[in-house]
Amino acid sequence: MELFALLGDFTVRTVAIGAALVGVVAGALGSFALLRQQSLLGDALSHAALPGVCLGFLLAGSRQLEPILAGALVSGALAALLVMVLTRATRVKTDAALGVSLSLFFAVGTVLLTYVQRHQGAAQAGLDAFLFGQAAALVPRDLTVIGIVAAVSLCIVLLGWKELKVTTFDADFARSLGRPVVAIEFVLTVLIAVAVVIGLQLVGVILMVALVIAPAAAARQWATRLEGMVLLAALFGALSGVTGALISASVRGLATGPLIVLVASALVLVSLLVAPERGLLWQLAHATTQRRSLRAHRVLVDLYRLGQAHDDPSYPSEQGMLDAYFGGRTGHVLRRLQRRGLVERVEHMPEEGAHWVLTEGGREQARELLVPFGTREHDGGGLA
């Protein structure tokens, strides 16, 4: 099969493994960024990495991943610091501070990039790949670096799991337990920055934030626990990475980075639509079912009360009268109830309209519905 042939190709395999590693780390740490409402910080971090990439290249004098990653991390951290200083010391709000910081660093980065390209021959070094990402530039040595960084980050998350969770959920409570909350938040921000930085070469500074946020946003739709969310986000990240890499390898001229982001976005779209409880379609279906059953209950109770009023439990009620009682058309509701065996249609007098009576089962259900709210067992909410 073509897929196996693709994976047999050395370059494709390198890119796919790299994309999977980046996806796992981005998904796992993106979950924390999402829950801490730091998605935009991720964007600022990735744009702000550009000057660091150029400076790392200038200082090392060659295109090696380590100095470039370190430079990206430092300039990203400086941008995050600028955001913090702006929001604390001035009246500038967080969104504006993020915008200012992001564009300032990105502008500096672009200036540096053009300078490097003119004077250092960066085009050959593939430095411009960091703008939009260039998967083909990934070499096995880069994989080792990315692999080590990924392993260390995931180990930190695993070891500090409880503390990361309690700090993300309730920082004041974590403080009351004596946890060094500022330090934990700092570590988290650095880890998120690391997740952004290791994907730069593959996806580029402009789109990398999508790979951090999208798998987490998709996973949030399905997960009920933080454990599940982080695992699923890591899986979604890896899936996006590998799928994007394979599509790009099989169709000539399609860039890997944007494809990875498109796959991740597709996962978000599907999750937003169909996830149980939180999905739009799920909620729509749920609301429709609820409305239907509410209507059915009203009609049952109306029929029952009409029977009571006439001292005849099997009193045949005219459909027009039911319409008036109900305040709308009841025909389709009655037909659904008939299919469930709760009402029966009777021919009262041929020249008059349809008449309906409750079956034994229908009367039983109406009686249950008439038990006052709050006294039924399954209403719950009370205290033990």
């Binding site: 829950l35 409402q37 070891l159 500090g160 799991w161 409880k162 503390e163 969770k165 309690v166 993300t168 959920f169 309730d170 004041d172 409570f173 403080r175 009351s176 337990l177 004596g178 949030r220 997960a223 009920t224 626990r225 933080l226 599940g228 969310m229 409880e277 719950g380 909410g381 009370g382 205290l383 033990a384």
Partner: protein, 283 residues
């Protein structure tokens, strides 16, 4: 009123006869004082309410105790020692609205967080911790909701989950920030029972409270705060028209005409400034 005498005994304890002892506490947000020179002494075994208008520094006072806000000056002692040496004896319940209830987790998991202090950094909760957390959930009538997503709980149920997290800490001093805010009548009654049960077991509770009408029925000890400490002591002595006016200003509305006499303990304020009027239950 309690004495202001400062005693440090031979064991290095500072005012060990108080569950909570706050000395000259001053705290500020961006330059302006939120708390000014507050001295507070809460004896053990009481249900204490901290009451005052909006922005009086009530929540900040609790946050200073647990070290979430660094005071500009002053000291805090819990059972005679600094807080950092007494953490295991204190349980803090933040305001319910201070966290994102859409966080992906279950009620049981939140309650288990109360045991993280005991577990330390690396040990993970096991069967024993889960059992303890379930027991705490049962104490607030929420045992059937352990596996429920916290986003699906009502406001009152969320508050009870927070209280269960404090109960599982098995502390001697409970610090609660507005435990009655935005809860239904059932939960309010449940919390009152819980507080009385804690007092019965010799525990001390210090709660930020905003409803003047229920202070004297729910609590037995009162501190009136408006940046400065206005008065502190048993509710009967502190809950007077004079003190309330000092805390809330002359616009405080008193229901009971008899309360107009200075020093009367029967004052029953209906409401204070519009901003402080009690919001209807949310659920």
């Amino acid at each position: 009123m309690t004495t202001m005498a400062q005693v440090t005994n031979a064991t290095g304890m500072h005012e060990p006869s108080y569950a909570l002892h706050v000395e000259d506490l001053t705290a500020s947000y961006s330059g302006s004082a939120v708390l000014w020179d507050v001295d507070l002494n809460v004896p053990p075994g009481v249900l204490a309410a901290i009451v005052g208008p909006n922005g009086a520094g009530k929540s900040t006072l609790l946050k200073c105790v647990i070290g979430a806000v660094r005071p500009a000056a002053g000291h805090v002692y819990v059972f005679g020692r600094p807080y950092r040496r007494q953490r295991h004896r204190v349980a803090y319940v933040p305001q319910r609205t201070s966290v994102d209830w859409d966080f992906p987790t279950t009620a049981l998991d939140v309650v288990t967080m109360g045991l993280y202090g005991r577990l330390g950094w690396l040990r993970q909760p096991r069967r024993r911790e889960t059992d303890e957390a379930l027991e705490a959930l049962a104490m607030v009538g929420m045992d059937a909701y352990g596996e429920r997503q916290i986003s699906q709980l009502s406001g009152g149920q969320q508050q009870r989950v927070f209280l269960a997290r404090a109960l599982v800490q098995d502390a001697d001093l409970y610090l609660m920030d507005e435990p009655f805010a935005g809860v239904d009548a059932t939960t309010e009654r449940a919390i009152v029972e819980l507080l009385k049960d804690l007092r019965g077991r010799g525990k001390t509770v210090v709660a930020v409270h905003h409803d003047l009408q229920t202070v004297s029925t729910y609590f037995d000890w009162l501190a009136l705060l408006n940046v400065r400490l206005i008065a502190q002591g048993p509710v009967r002595e502190v809950y007077t028209a004079e003190h309330l006016r000092a805390a809330y200003g002359p616009r405080v509305v008193l229901l009971n005409a008899g309360a107009e006499q200075p020093g009367s303990a029967a004052a029953a304020p209906a409401a204070v400034d519009a901003g402080e009027r009690r919001a209807p239950p949310l659920d």
